[in-house]
């Protein structure tokens, strides 16, 4: 027995393919002027070295900066 509408299946597939184009999402990034849009960064004291202890990190850095003054180191 012959199918009543032999082209029904191919027509449905073709219609689906064509309609898929209508649902295409925009693929262009929308940039907002003046707003950082990259990845978020972690803060220096959040690493394994200081485990979130901001005060310890600030102390360590303060000591390093002060040690650049050789008058303090040699006298």
């Amino acid at each position: 027995m012959k199918p009543r509408f032999p082209l029904r299946l191919p027509a449905a597939v073709a219609a689906l393919v064509l309609l898929a184009g209508c649902g295409e999402q925009p693929q262009v990034v929308q940039y907002e002027q003046g707003k950082y849009q990259g990845k978020a960064d972690s803060r220096p004291w959040e690493g394994s070295s200081f485990n979130g202890d901001k005060a310890a990190w600030e102390r360590a850095l303060h000591d390093r900066v002060r040690s650049q003054n050789e008058y303090k180191r040699v006298e």
Partner: protein, 201 residues
């Protein structure tokens, strides 16, 4: 909160390029990219001056203003960093920067196009997990997260290049300028390091 800055004392810089070498080695910076360089004015003439230049981590950074993809940002410490994943290598930041800090490696893009922007990170890595391989590969070592200062400044033999919180650097430089004064010999050892203790009395 600290505001990180570099300060280069032109009276002390001896153009040894130790800072340049330290930077390249620490971050394994690719060939052709110089995050830091030493500029000399009146080279070979008595009174010549040298200064070590890299990204100055501007408070109102023009590179941030012009970046079309908005991937350059300020950290809480005032360091200017960028997200390489979003960089399109357009070069606008290079045109905007008064110091020529942004650098562009060749490739791996095709047809000789420039790669993603690379610049001094104040040894603060970038937007990846601290101390991760991805961070090192893209941005170099994160010394700030280790409680250390940029290696260029820490390696400087004459302490011409200083790095750290701007207020503390000002204190160091102020004391230095007061000690050495401003005398007849405006160039050389005495100007850089001050007079002998005996001589100063």
């Amino acid at each position: 909160m600290a505001r990180m800055k570099f300060l280069c004392d032109a009276e002390r810089c001896i153009e040894c390029n130790g800072c340049v070498t330290a930077c390249k080695n620490e971050h394994e910076v690719p060939w052709g990219v110089n995050r830091r360089r030493v500029v000399t004015i009146n080279d070979g003439v008595p009174g010549e001056r040298s200064i070590s230049v890299a990204c100055m981590h501007c408070s109102d950074a023009p590179c941030i203003a012009v970046c079309p993809t908005n991937v350059i940002y300020h950290t809480e410490e005032g360091v200017v960093l960028h997200d390489k994943d979003g960089c399109i290598g357009c070069g606008y930041c290079f045109y905007a920067c008064p110091f020529g800090a942004p650098q562009f490696p060749n490739g791996p893009a095709a047809f000789g196009a420039r790669g993603k922007m690379d610049k001094c990170t104040f040894c603060a890595g970038g937007p990846e997990e601290n101390h991760s391989d991805a961070e090192f590969e893209k941005y170099g070592r994160n010394r700030l997260a280790q409680g250390k200062l940029p290696l260029c400044a820490e390696m400087c033999s004459t302490k011409a290049l200083l790095a750290g919180d701007a207020a503390e650097l000002s204190d160091i430089f102020r004391e230095r300028a007061l000690r050495r004064g401003k005398g007849f010999e405006a160039w050389g050892w005495m100007t850089a390091y001050g007079k002998d203790k005996e001589e100063a009395k």
